[in-house]
Amino acid sequence: MKTVSLVGAASYLPRRIVENSFFQNGDEEQTHVMFRGVKLRHHVEADESAQMMIVQAARKLAERLNINLAKDVDILMTNVTSPDQPFTGCGADVGKALGCRPDWVVDLHNGGCVSFIQMMAQAQALMTCHGARTALLCNVQNAAGRHFAHPETRKLKQARIPGDGCGVAYLVASNESPVKTIVQRNYCEYAGDMAAVRADGTAWWEPSTACAYVDFNETKLAAVMGRANRIVPEVIREACRRADLPTGEIDTLITNQPNRIFMRNWREALQVPRDRHVSTFERHGNLFGAALPLCLEEAIDSGQLKKDSHLVLGGFAHAGDFAAAAVIHWQAPAATSNGWMLPVRSADFGTVDR
């Protein structure tokens, strides 16, 4: 495989910030432990499409990294929890708005909360086999505002957990901040325990006035927790083993952030101290797939992610049908007081011949 590097991330957070009092049961102490711990979250509003969120975040990233979006995006990948259109992803719409001319547009509809790692792996494969040099990876979580803000669905006990946001990141075929290992594991036997449902039982394509929301099979709560406790530390340990990195030497850990119990258990299993685990769960809730790139931006901007340190990404999707982890030897420049130290991207990499 060609060496690829993760070199930067940026985010867009919806304007609307929602407090716990918005939900029917605003009392934190009365809430099931699975649904505790979020103080604030963002909700998308009608004009904040997935396309618009990605465009905003990508422009911020382009400015930071001095990317020429017209030339420097060979691969454009998106993963959106609640797609703008049911029949197609928004990758082409994003490319249109940003003026990109990608050779590959991939709208991933799987990988869930760790689709970011799956996108890294797919981009690396395209870079290795087809000579692509640059990839813009885009995650959007917009299920909170679209599905859990409705007067009916916001009564559900899980309604307070999701939060919306968009994270984008830039991957290049170079060894400047190398991805050392990526490990992905599919557990198809655990598929189907999470689904988008409507209160009246209709399918999403059928006419209905009932609202749709994401639901977990509650009788499987113990099983899902057991899986998460097992498969996430396993896949992270395997990625670390292949990178010759003892898990106790992880400098920065970023996982998906479904709830604080899972995150506590993963830290304990990996022996990673809390202050090395970057999470925005309290402020942003469960960001699904957007958590990884968004927390990466947070780790860079806060100065927590230091040059020449080991960054580990990991987590699981849906109710456990997929787990993935990656180890990155982070070399990208740390944030400076007035922004980033900017490499000149176009000059460094040129573009693929067309």
Binding site: T219, K220, A222, G226, N229, N265, E268
Partner: protein, 218 residues
């Protein structure tokens, strides 16, 4: 001389001082000793728990051997009554809403073991087996009271209900779905047992096992 020892020492995975030096044994022990063990490694196939209880072993044994006390110290099994044959009882497990639970208690006073042979929904095949043992704490901890150990083994039926036709209509939950919570659930119940037995011992109220005798509060 035991004639089998040569064979035994040659069996793969057998380590005895005759075929495994002390250095090698120490190396093995160091390899096997981790700082952290995953929940699944410890409780994936077996669920062993134990605790000290400040109550005489005989009293604890008699309490456990009385099926009616299950309605007191377990989280959700209630209202046991004889089910006709050979020590079989039936009660409700409110964990599964309208679920019946069948139980036969096999107690051995000499060994102070109390095994609950149980099953949800039907009483013909009692495959959920809870193995409990009471040990005088004087022997193992050098103090009054007792130690209670409790083990469950993950029978394949926990993963798939073998008698779905006996389940109440519309029940979605299956007892085995909770296996990942068995450590927590049983620990909470063992804590119940400890608090109840220590209360009963301290207040000398063991006249019978029924909850109605407890301080007249119920």
């Amino acid at each position: 001389m035991n004639p089998h020892l040569n064979v035994i020492d040659g069996l793969p995975g057998v380590h005895r001082i005759e075929n495994c030096s002390k250095d090698k044994m120490t190396s093995l022990a160091m390899e096997m000793t981790h700082a952290v063990y995953g929940h699944d490694e410890v409780y994936g196939q077996y669920c062993p728990i134990q605790d000290y209880i400040n109550c005489p072993a005989e009293k604890a044994f008699e309490y456990l051997a009385d099926i009616h006390t299950l309605g007191e110290w377990t989280y959700s099994t209630r209202d046991f009554e004889p089910a006709g044959e050979d020590g079989l009882y039936v009660g409700m497990d409110r964990l599964g809403s309208a679920t019946k639970i069948y139980v036969r208690v096999l107690a051995n006073r000499q060994a102070m073991t109390v095994d609950y042979h149980c099953a949800w929904d039907q009483g013909k095949h009692l495959w959920m087996i809870y193995l409990m043992r009471v040990v005088p704490a004087e022997l193992v901890l050098g103090k009054p009271g007792c130690v209670v150990t409790w083990t469950n083994c993950r029978h394949p039926n926990y993963d798939c209900n073998p008698y779905p036709e006996t389940a109440p209509v519309g029940r979605k939950v299956w007892v085995g779905d909770m296996w990942p919570f068995f450590y927590a659930g049983h620990k909470i119940e063992l804590d119940n047992l400890k608090h109840i037995l220590e209360y009963r011992h301290a207040n000398n109220c063991f006249s019978n096992g029924l909850p109605t005798t407890m301080g007249g509060s119920r």
